[in-house]
């Protein structure tokens, strides 16, 4: 199911709150910007994934919690968490 940019941000915030064990109100939006990612997995492939090497447009979402900045990458269909504790994660 396709979602909007705002919905992608909301999903990212909910996902991060769950991972950190925080309330969503403790997650602050840092920035949301259009971005061209390096591949179909937004440059955020998991260890076991191969990805089509085509430039893929989407949104770079940065959130702040507990003094740390976290980066999500998304488009209308998918959402990934980039480099969280050294690994990439597929959210949607």
């Amino acid at each position: 199911m396709a979602f909007t940019r705002d919905e992608a941000v909301a999903r990212a915030r909910a996902d991060l709150a769950g991972r950190l064990g925080l309330a969503e109100k403790e997650i602050a939006d840092e920035s949301v910007a259009d971005a061209d990612f390096s591949d179909a997995n937004f440059g955020a492939s998991r260890a076991d994934e191969m990805s089509a090497q085509m430039i893929t447009p989407g949104w770079r979402i940065t959130l702040r919690a507990g003094g740390q900045v976290y980066e999500y990458r998304a488009n209308r269909n998918r959402l990934r968490l980039f480099n969280f504790n050294g690994a990439n994660h597929r959210v949607v």
Partner: protein, 492 residues
Amino acid sequence: MNRNNLFGHLALAVALVILAAFIGQMRHMQWRTHDKPVERGKTEQTAEPAGDKEDGDEAEGTDDQDKDEDDAEVLVRFRAGTSPEAIDRITAQLNDRVEDRFEQIASEEMVIADEDNLDAEEVAAEYRALPEVLYAEPNGQIELEPGEDAVDGGPGLRPDYVAGADHAHPSDPMFDDQWSLDNHGTRGGTQNADISALKAWEKTHGSEKIVVAVLDTGVDYTHRDLINNIWTRPANMPAYIDKELGAFDDTHGFDASDMDGDPMDDNGHGTHCAGIVGAEGDNNDGIAGVNWHVEIMPLKFLNANGSGSVKDAIECINYAIARKKAGVNIRIISASWGSTMYSRALEDAIKRAGEEDILFVAAAGNSSTDNDRRPHYPSSYALPNVLSVAALTRRDELASFSNWGLKSVHVAAPGAEILSTWPDNQYEEHSGTSMATPEVSGVAALVLALNPNMPVKDLRERLINATDKLPALSGKVASGGRINAARAVKAE
């Protein structure tokens, strides 16, 4: 009224009727002249010289037919994507009108008639100055199609189909936007910053005897620009049998992500890559592939999101090897994907493909990094059948996203803003080393069309040596150059 007056009036009436009949006959003859079919590329002025107007109505400009004949005509080719509304707006602004559209050649190509008494060259100059226009020339100077009687290869065969023709320019209406094949310097590009496809096509347009496996998101094998170049399992070849899962009806290839025999593309990426390798050329439709004729075997392991597992990639490679052993002439696997994860199993599978004389062409990756320092797989496997490909812009620059590697990236090819096929009979422009890879796979297939028994080691060496050295690639890729199809097929 007296008797003399009566005869006078009758004589005058008869004279008027005869005069009216004479004028009517002249008009009728004139219409018949207009009815004659006009050959494409000639204006109607040749059928009836300008100035031969017959009566006052025409001189006043109320007869549209004669007005057409006096107006200067130019043949204008708008750039692909220019909408009919935009074309109408442009012609109206220039006080012109669209006289004829050549839909069968390209919806953007048409004859435009001037309505403000400029000569044809002046009108053409007006259009050439517009950014939406690819070219504009006075009608009659451009030969839209070769004459049917000027054929080298026999009746009904277009001269462009004949390898060895001086000009191998295909009829595909979007060809002028395929800068990777023939770069005119448009859209900020550098003229001739391309793979020299036109020159290569003087020697070969490819061969349906060469099978290129596109290992990707699948291929829309029903796309009208691909359908004639898609591999079909021969009737006498049994369906593929997986040791664990049994038989698959692999009519057009294999899908490891769903473990079935239907490699239909649900993403678009694989269809795009397939079109670069071998969209049917010179078919008056869409684009031309590097190969006009080839067999593309769709192999799907990337899902609808363009993501896939190493395991499924290996399944597909094993399928290709099995089909090669069964007699399918798979000589190239085109792999526009990757990651930084090393897999010995994947490396071994590719090595086994090499032992079956299959070249594995792989994307160098899009992370703007040095693969010699941070390898990207499968392109960084140091195997004798792996060829790693970086991406170039239309200005012969290494694309900003492209990986490089003096030792581990071998050649570069056009990979930015590449127009190709997309599912549902669409066409899209995309960028990436994904797009550069099938350019090289396509050139490899052209080489094999002329040298079907060339071993993979020699094929790889031929490709690496068939490059145009570029300053932008010095110290960046092993060959230091952009792949040159003409040099690869020894057309220059």
